[in-house]
C-alpha cells in the first residue's frame, strides 16, 4: 500500500495556526521597536524628539551632550536590554524543556549564582579597586575575561544541576536542590567577599544590584557576540529541544542522544546566562516568566516558534522594565532586578490564571 496523496498542492498551513503565529510575531516586533525608541527617547535628561531622530540618522545634534547621551548611554542601554531579554528568556526556555520542569530558570536553579562566582573570581582576585574598575570599564579584553569566567561559572553549576536532575524526577525537589546549589554558590561568594579588601568589594557589590547601563564600547561587542552565538546554538538545537518534549527515552528512540542534547543545551545556556550576568549583574525572573508567557500566547510547544517568541517577548519585557527603572520625572534609577520582579510577577500570575494551561504544558 503506497502513501496516499494527502498533501495538498501547496502546503500552506503548518500546524493550523500559522497565521496566528506570524501575526503575533509581527505585533511583538512592532511593540519592541516602539518601546526601543521610547527607551532611547526618554531619560532623566530631556532630549527633543527631532534631535533624537537626527542623532540616530546622522549622528549629529544641536548640543554635543545630547549626542553623547543618546549614543553612549541610551542606545547601548537599550541594546543591552534587548540582548539580556533574549538571552535570559531563551536560556530559561531551554532549561524548562531540558528538565521538563515549569519552575526551572537561570536564577531559580542557581545558574545566575554560578555566573556570579565567575565574576567574583575576576573582581575579587584582581590587584585592587583600580584594577577591578579597569576590568569592568576600560580594559579592551577585560570584557572577554569576565564574560568567559561567568560562563564557566554558569556551566559549572549547570553541570551539577544536570547530574542531580538525572536522579531527581520530582519538580519541587529539583527546585529545592537548585535553590540550595544557588545558596551554596552565594555562600562561597560571601566567604570570598569576607576575606577581600574593601576596595575590591565595592565594585562587586555594585555589580550585584544589576544594571543595564554601563555596557559600552568593547563590552557591548563582547556581549553581543556571545549572546548571538548562544542564540544561534539555541535555535540550531530547536530540533533537539522538540524531541525532548516527549521525554528523554522517546528522544533516544528517535535518534537523538540525550547526552549530546544536554551538552549542547548546557553550552548555549551557560553562554547566554553567563555573558548577561557578567555585564548586567544577576537579573531574576525574566528567565522563568517569559517562556510561560510565550507558550500561552502562541499556544505552541514547537521551539522553532518559542525561541523567536521568547526573544521578542523577553526584549519587550526588558525594555519596558528599563523604562520603568528611570521613572520619568525622577532623577533616581531603580535597580533593574527589582523592577523585573515587580513587573513580571503579576504578568505571570495573570497569564497562569487566564489561560490555565501551565499544567498542560508539563
Amino acid at each position: 500500500m503506497g502513501v496516499p496523496q494527502l498533501a495538498p498542492a501547496r502546503v500552506r498551513k503548518r500546524y493550523g495556526n500559522a497565521g496566528w503565529t506570524g501575526g503575533l510575531m509581527f505585533v511583538l516586533f512592532l511593540a519592541c521597536t516602539v518601546v526601543f525608541f521610547a527607551d532611547v527617547l526618554l531619560g532623566p535628561v530631556e532630549v527633543p524628539f527631532r534631535q533624537v531622530i537626527r542623532i540616530l540618522a546622522t549622528g549629529e545634534a544641536d548640543t554635543p551632550a545630547w549626542v553623547y547621551i543618546v549614543e553612549k548611554i541610551r542606545l547601548p542601554k537599550a541594546v543591552t536590554a534587548v540582548l539580556a531579554g533574549c538571552a535570559l528568556s531563551v536560556s530559561g526556555l531551554q532549561m524548562q524543556t531540558l528538565f521538563r520542569n515549569p519552575l526551572a530558570g537561570p536564577a531559580e536553579l542557581g545558574i545566575t549564582a554560578g555566573a556570579g562566582l565567575g565574576v567574583a573570581a575576576v573582581m575579587l582576585t584582581s590587584g585592587g579597586a583600580v584594577h577591578a574598575y579597569a576590568i569592568r570599564q576600560l580594559a579592551p579584553d577585560g570584557g572577554w575575561l569576565i564574560a568567559g569566567m561567568a560562563s564557566l561559572g554558569s556551566a559549572l553549576v549547570l553541570m551539577v544541576v544536570v547530574l542531580i536532575a538525572g536522579r531527581v524526577r520530582d519538580h519541587v525537589v529539583m527546585l529545592i536542590v537548585g535553590v540550595m546549589i544557588g545558596t551554596l554558590t552565594i555562600s562561597v561568594i560571601s566567604l570570598w567577599q569576607y576575606f577581600s579588601r574593601p576596595e575590591q568589594l565595592q565594585e562587586f557589590i555594585f555589580w550585584t544590584f544589576g544594571s543595564l547601563g554601563g555596557v559600552t564600547g568593547t563590552q557591548l561587542h563582547v556581549l553581543s557576540a556571545i549572546t548571538l552565538a548562544g542564540l544561534c546554538v539555541a535555535f540550531a538545537s530547536s530540533k533537539l529541544l522538540n524531541a525532548l518534549l516527549l521525554g528523554e527515552h522517546y528522544a533516544q528512540t528517535m535518534g537523538i542522544s540525550a547526552g549530546r542534547a544536554r551538552t549542547i543545551i548546557l553550552l548555549s545556556t551557560s553562554l547566554l546566562t553567563g555573558s548577561v550576568t557578567a555585564f548586567c549583574g544577576p537579573i531574576g525572573f525574566i528567565g522563568i516568566a517569559v517562556p510561560h508567557i510565550v507558550r500561552s500566547l502562541f499556544d505552541s510547544a514547537d521551539h522553532k516558534v518559542l525561541i523567536p517568541g521568547c526573544c521578542l517577548t523577553g526584549s519587550l519585557l526588558m525594555l519596558v522594565c528599563d523604562l520603568v527603572t528611570q521613572l520619568p520625572g525622577s532623577d533616581s534609577v531603580l535597580p533593574v532586578n527589582v523592577v523585573t520582579s515587580l513587573l513580571g510577577a503579576p504578568v505571570v500570575i495573570w497569564v497562569i490564571m487566564s489561560h490555565n494551561n501551565l499544567r498542560s504544558s508539563f
Binding site: L6, N242, G247, Q252, T253, G255, A301, S360, S361
Partner: protein, 352 residues
C-alpha cells in the same frame, strides 16, 4: 519462512542491569530469538519476569549485558542513533507530559530521523504523517492538543508517531495498559492490520493474555529468566502457558485459553438438561457454591432449563418436591436449601 525475512535477531542475549561497581544483575538469558516481517509477536510474562527489560534491550534503550542483537545482519551497536531510529521505533509506557503539543506535531516528531538540522518537514514528510494518522484512525484528532485526549486516543497517536518513523520493526511496551476493553481490542486489531497490510514486524508486551492469544502470530513467554517461543496454540497444548503463570488459586483453562479463579471441586452433582445458554450460566453460579452439573445420569436433584415468551425459566425437582423459577438467583437459593436438608423437611415445598 526463509532467513531473509528476518527483521531482528539476537544470539546469546543476556539482558539485565549493570550495578554500581563491578556487579551486574542478570534478568534474562536467551540463546536465540528472531522477529520476522509481517509477524505480530506477543510478549507475555508474570510481573517481574523481565518484559520491560527485554523490550528496552531490544529497543536499544539499554545495552545488553552480553550477546549481540542485529537487524538485517548489521549489529545494532554499529548503527548510528539516526540509522537505528530509521529501522526501529518504539511506543513506551512513559507518560508524555507536554500537553500543549498538537497531535499533528507529536506525529511530526516521528520524522526527526529524516528531517534536516532544523526539523523542517518536506512534502514527503507531510504525506507520511498524514498516512500514519489515517491508518491509525487518528486523522480526526489532528489539531487536538495532546493534553485533551483520552488514554485510548493518546495511545493511537503515540503509535502513529512510531509509524511516521517508517521502520520495519515497531516495539510496543504495554500498549493496551490503561485502556478499556473495546479500546484494547481496537488497538490489537490495529496492530494486526499493520503487521498484515503494511508488512511490519510488531513486538508488543502485554498483560492481556486472552487478547494476545487471539491476535498474536507468535508468543514469547518469559519465566525463570528464559524465553519460550511458539505459536499461541502450541504453547497452550504443550502446557508452557500453564507453567508460566502457575500460581495458587489460579486455573488455566486450555479450552478457552483463559485463566480463571480456582474454584472448590464440587461436593455434589445435580442432573441438568435443557436450553444450553441458560444451563451454562446456571452452571457458573452453582460452581461458586461447590455444585457441579452432571449429565443425564445425575443424582436425586435435577434442573431443566428452557425459554418461553417471558424469557428463561428453570424447573427444579428434588425428592421432596418440584418448583419453577424465573431467575438463576432463585433457582440456586432453592437448590441450596433443598440439598442442605433432604428428606421429609423438604416436603413443604410446592408439591405436585
Amino acid at each position: 519462512m526463509s532467513a531473509a525475512s528476518s527483521v531482528l535477531s539476537a544470539e546469546n542475549l543476556v539482558a539485565g542491569y549493570k550495578r554500581k561497581g563491578a556487579g551486574r544483575s542478570e534478568i534474562l538469558r536467551i540463546p536465540a530469538l528472531t522477529i520476522r516481517k509481517g509477524e505480530l509477536i506477543g510478549l507475555l510474562g508474570a510481573n517481574g519476569s523481565g518484559k520491560s527489560t527485554l523490550i528496552k534491550t531490544l529497543g536499544c534503550l539499554q545495552p545488553p549485558l552480553d550477546g549481540e542483537i542485529s537487524m538485517g545482519g548489521v549489529p545494532l551497536a554499529q548503527l548510528s542513533p539516526g540509522a537505528l531510529a530509521r529501522r526501529l521505533s518504539l511506543v513506551l509506557t512513559d507518560r508524555v507530559s507536554t500537553g500543549n503539543l498538537s497531535v499533528y506535531e507529536v506525529v511530526a516528531l516521528g520524522r526527526i530521523p529524516y528531517t534536516d538540522w532544523l526539523g523542517r518537514l518536506t512534502r514527503d514528510d507531510e504525506a507520511v504523517i498524514g498516512h500514519s494518522l489515517e491508518i491509525t484512525g487518528a486523522g480526526s484528532l489532528k489539531s487536538r492538543k495532546l493534553g485533551s485526549l483520552s488514554d485510548g486516543e493518546r495511545q493511537k497517536v503515540m503509535l502513529a508517531r512510531a509509524l511516521a518513523q517508517r521502520t520495519e520493526l515497531i516495539i510496543l511496551d504495554e500498549p493496551t495498559a490503561h485502556l478499556d476493553l473495546p479500546h484494547r481490542i481496537g488497538m490489537m486489531q490495529l496492530l494486526r492490520r499493520l503487521a498484515r497490510e503494511e508488512n511490519k514486524a510488531v513486538l508488543l508486551s502485554s498483560h492481556e493474555l486472552e487478547l494476545t492469544l487471539q491476535a498474536a502470530d507468535k508468543l514469547w513467554l518469559l519465566a525463570d529468566g528464559g524465553l519460550t517461543a511458539g505459536t499461541p496454540e502450541d504453547l497452550v497444548l504443550n502446557g508452557a502457558f500453564r507453567n508460566i503463570f502457575r500460581q495458587e488459586g489460579v486455573r488455566f483453562d486450555r479450552m478457552s485459553g483463559s485463566f480463571a479463579m480456582d474454584l472448590p471441586s464440587p461436593r455434589m452433582q445435580i442432573f441438568a438438561a435443557g436450553e444450553a445458554v441458560a444451563l451454562h450460566w446456571l452452571g457458573k453460579a452453582l460452581a461458586r457454591e461447590g455444585i457441579g452439573l452432571a449429565g443425564p445420569a445425575g443424582g436425586d436433584f435435577s434442573v431443566t432449563a428452557g425459554t418461553d415468551a417471558e424469557g428463561y425459566f428453570f424447573k427444579g425437582s428434588s425428592p421432596g418436591g418440584a418448583a419453577e423459577f424465573r431467575s438463576v438467583e432463585a433457582a440456586v437459593a432453592w437448590l441450596l436449601r433443598v440439598s442442605a436438608s433432604p428428606g421429609p423437611s423438604a416436603g413443604g415445598l410446592g408439591n405436585g
